[in-house]
Every structure is written in C-alpha cells, then in structure tokens.
Symmetry: C2
Subunit: 381 residues, 2 copies
Amino acid sequence: MPSIGIVTPKTMHFAEPLPLQSGAQLRDYMLMYETYGTLNADKSNAVLVCHALNASHHVAGVYADQPNNVGWWDNMVGPGKPLDTDKFFVIGVNNPGSCFGSTGPMHTNPATGKPYGAAFPVVTVEDWVNAQARLADQLGIARFAAVMGGSLGGMQALAWSIMYPDRLGHCLVIASTPKLSTQNIAFNDVARQSILTDPDYHGGDFYEHGVVPKNGLKVARMIGHITYLSDDSMGEKFGRKLRDAEEYKFGFGVDFEIESYLRYQGDKFSSYFDANTYLLITKALDYFDPARNHGGDLAKALAGTKAEFFLASFTTDWRFSPERSREIVDALIANRRAVTYAEIDAPHGHDAFLLEDARYMNMVRAYYDRVWKGLTQGVNK
Amino acid sequence: MPSIGIVTPKTMHFAEPLPLQSGAQLRDYMLMYETYGTLNADKSNAVLVCHALNASHHVAGVYADQPNNVGWWDNMVGPGKPLDTDKFFVIGVNNPGSCFGSTGPMHTNPATGKPYGAAFPVVTVEDWVNAQARLADQLGIARFAAVMGGSLGGMQALAWSIMYPDRLGHCLVIASTPKLSTQNIAFNDVARQSILTDPDYHGGDFYEHGVVPKNGLKVARMIGHITYLSDDSMGEKFGRKLRDAEEYKFGFGVDFEIESYLRYQGDKFSSYFDANTYLLITKALDYFDPARNHGGDLAKALAGTKAEFFLASFTTDWRFSPERSREIVDALIANRRAVTYAEIDAPHGHDAFLLEDARYMNMVRAYYDRVWKGLTQGVNK
C-alpha cells in the first residue's frame, strides 16, 4: 500500500490563553499539526486523529529530509488505507505539553523567560480536546466526520463525544478505557518516581543544567514497554534466549535477549523524549475519568453524546483489556447509541492497535466506508 | 491459633569453601537459621522451609526483644498449624547473599578485607540448596521428611528433589514456576536497572560511601510489589480513591491512595533491604531453569526425583500463574510421580501464598497429616 508520501508539518499560534481544568491557563501557545487529503467544499470530510503517549501530529507519510521518519499510524491513514485520504481530510495535532513541537515544558515560560520545566501546567485529556477544538475553529471545521484515537488517543475521542457532541459524526475509540485501573495508575506512578528521583531531574529544571534525567526516563520506559506487550508475544519473540552467549554470565550485565532489547528501548527513548512531558502525559492518563462527575456512572457521562461509535480492543491487551472497552460499549448501549464493537484476537498486547492486522484493519475500513456513504448519501451525517 | 512464641536465631560457621555454579566459591561463610519443634530420635521428622526474595530464616514466632517481628510464615508453621511443630522439627535458613544475617555482600570479603559489594559471587538456587544440605549435614539430618517453599522458596524445594533425591520424602512447591517467563525476567531487569543506575549505588560499593541507593531500591520494590498483587485486589483495596482530598491536585505529588501506598512500601523496603542482595536474588530467580540442561524438557529434569509432591497455585497470581505450576505437575505425572495439586481460587495474586486462606491451609494441613502418618506408620517414608 503506498504511503501518502512527503508531508509537511504546520504550526498555528494561539494568542488567547487556554483555560485549563486545573484552574491555570496556558498563555500564548503554539500547536503543531499535519493534514492529509483535501477538505471538501462544505468542510464535512474532516477526521481528527488523536495521539497517545509516545506519538505526535506526524500520523502518516514521511518528511522530505527524513525519509525514514514514517508517521505512527501510516498503516491506517493514507490513500487507499482504512482511513482513506483520497476521501477524507485527516488532521493530526500534537497536544500541548508534548515534546514534539507544540508548546511544552522545554519552551519558554512567558511569565519567567526561562523554560517551563515542572512549572508547565498539568494538562488533561479535556484540555487537549479544547485545544484541538480551537484548532478546528481556525481551520473552519465546525464538525468532524469522525474523531479517532487509540489508547490515550481513544480517551480524547471519547472526550470529544462528551464535550462537543454536535461537532463529530462518529467516534472511534481503539484499545482504550473509560479510566485507568489501580494497577495502571500504579505503573504510571513507579515511572514517575523513577524520573522524579533521578538527581539529573533537578526538580524539572534540568534544561538549565545541561543534563537530562536519562536513567529515570530509561527505567520509566522499560516499565511502560513491558505493559504494552503481552506475556505471550514477549515469550514468543525473546523467550529465555541468551544474548551472544551459550552460558549465563553470572554478573549484572546482559544475560538475556529481553534485557538487551528493553535496555536498548529505554536508552533510545531517553535520548529523545522529555522527562517533564512523560510526567504530564502519565498524569493526563491517570486523571481521565469522565464518569467521575456523574457518581461513577459512565452511562450518565455518555448520556449527552450524539455520535455513532466504533470501538475495538485486543484479546491479549492487559493494559487496557477488552473488558474496559466493553464497559464503554455497555454504557453507550444503555444510552441507545449506535455502537460497532470489534474484539480482535491478536497476540501483540496493547501495541496491537498500532500494528498491521487484517481483521482489525478491515473492520476500520468497513466502518469508514459507512461514514463515507453517510456523508455522500446524506445518511448518518 | 497460638504462635510458637519466642524463638532464637542460631548461626553456623562453614570454614570449607562452598563451590558455586558460576565456578567461583564462597569462602568462610556463615548461615543464620532457626529451628522449631523437636528433632526425634531417628532424625526423621525434619522439614526444611525455604524462603523467597524478601524473607529469611525467621519463619515463625517472635524474638524476645522484638515482639512485633513475627516470622513470615507464622500462619503456616507452629503448634497446631498446618506444618505442626508439635510433630515436625522445622528449620528455616537464611540463604547466602541475603541481607538478614547469613554471609552477604555487606560482609567482609576475606580476599580484600572490605565489604564484598558487587564482588559478592552470583549465587543460584542450586548453590543455596547445596548450602542448605551442608547445614543439614551439620545438624545430622540425612533426610528431610519434607522440603517446602513458596515462590523462589518453591524453586529451592524443587531443586532439592532433583539434586538430592534421596534426602527428602516430600516436596512442597507453592506458587512457583519451573522457570521465569520473559516478562518475569523483564520486570526483574527493570528493577536491577533502577538500582544499578542510582548514583548512590557506586558500583556496589555504597557501604564505603556511607550511602544507600534508596531511590533505586524504592522503584525496584514498587515494581515488584505491583507484580505480587492482582489487578482485582488492588482495585478492590484502593480503586481510584484519592488520598486526603476530594479533588485532583494537578501536580506530581500524591493524588491517589495507591500512589501513597506504593511509595510508602518502597520507602520502607529501601530502609532495610540491601541493594546488592536485591540484584543477587533477582539473578537467582532469572537463572533457575532445571530443564535447561535437558534440552528444555522438564520431565527429563525431574526423571531422577524420588519424592512425593504437593503443589499449589492461586488463580489470580499473574506473576507465577497456575499454568506454570501445571507445567511442573504435568512433568511429574509424565514420570509417574505421586502429585497432589491444589489450584486455589484466591483474589490476592502472588501474595496469596503468604496469606490466610482456609482452603489453602487445609490442603497443606491434610498433606502434612499424610506425611506424618507415613513417618509414624512407616508408609511413604
């Protein structure tokens, strides 16, 4: 399948402060975004794709000067892909607080003239949705044909359906959850502790010290990475294979392939990801809980939604298990919403939502075909 | 149920070096141990209890000067308990490399006159079993009525049945596994990385620097702790309850009860546990794989065993799941060994093996009744 090819990120500046859920506000910020395909005359074919922890506005295609930097959902978005850019105008936007271009903790705090560091305000899924809505306003998009995301991105799609019910026709929530479990929060907090206690974190002001809390970030990423993979897929890929050896080394270096792999992933991640961003994004994950203001009743939280829904989960995902998607499905059905739900038998754990899987891709493709028919034939618009 | 009351640890010195699996040897070492009950005239009623990661020779009872320091398996071992010290002579022994009294990395390396630190030799489950066998020799115990352990302790019991088939009548392996899974190793390595990259670790020589790698140990313990509990039991106990607050705090301090709990557990652990011991014990866990020298065939590895076996696992244990115990059961049955297997429906995850559970305790009690009948009636001896 051909990719959309060379794409160019764009920036949009927002002079008006963004009020945040915490009571703070984000002053004078900038969002990075990319678009693929063509917005039609009545601006009805726009689809917003929301990103998860370790991703950005770069959803599809490559950059002219970085031919290997392929968008994170390039198998999903492009010409002839399940989300077909020959039909839809697709937008990827980097959320504030991220480290991929939109205003984040490494940028200058207008109040101090120094990098925000840990002073960057804690942002929530709902804050991101508000920022995305302002971007849509600027692009003249009153209503999205669909808002879509996986994992943390799925939380944003779900929040769109609650916060702006009239601004999306369809809501696609993949491998997500209505709220983190206790265990999910626990893993996030261990990762945060690893960063916060790294002496190179310097209370968040490591930029000024010319260092990066690499060790803390590395351990944080190693923990995260384990939770993205299934026990089975790790076992199949790595087993107990030794790294370049026939025998145990009887030391604390690398014995097993899995150790080498995870340490490598941790090192790589810590070389490009921002520690404050990691803290911010895990907090946004922890805080997301739309039922919270409705006595814990998710059906009540979803009562005002108007979109049609597509949900998908993956059998071996133990981070956000199928059970969690079914909670959303049940709450939507309680509200008599139209819901399509796919529980995909895939071995890859949480990461499955990013991987090629014919049944999964075909389900999404079929759903967007329906969205497209609704748009062009005036049904389900 | 009354505890055995006040107990007193003992020490035994070994002048003869212990040859280790790595090819190194442990010189001039000391083992701490405790005994409960009375050894009978023909020394046939001895039971060895092997400890897991965070435990010691202090299996049951309390110390005269530490009335709150209750043995880690006091609910299992004592007068009238499932392992009844009115009948059996029970031995708990602290393994070398530990930080609870037996020779370990914080003790003086006779080769240098300084603390071993990271130079303490890497020890394996099999090395520990050899050390335990020497202790048994010194105590005049040629054959144990039973060897028993949970988790890492279960690995030692299993290793006994393989290495010294004539020296035990029964082998009780609780909540254990024939080898760690890839995911198990991965979690251990993240914990090790957390310790090894803590600047206060000083390459293992932190004793001389008057510091302790507290942060690294804390994060390591937090990770471990999550894997000891089930998702459900954490959810039931902590849910998404906030700590002393009605609202999110929008910072990186404690929001949720689970964060407070885990950080507290991590802090407490890092105040008494030794970092080098943590590294050593996780390595012993990773390396245990008796099938490895038999082309991965566990049945072959167990072909020379002569004991009768009791195994138990717990349904919500995702660290060493019931499936892993069943692998051992299957391999024993392939060898036509007598096996009793209990799969206990318990909510507490891996920790369940340490907790009170009537069905579990009754199964162990019934099994030891049979061991006792075998001893006293000359059957199954």
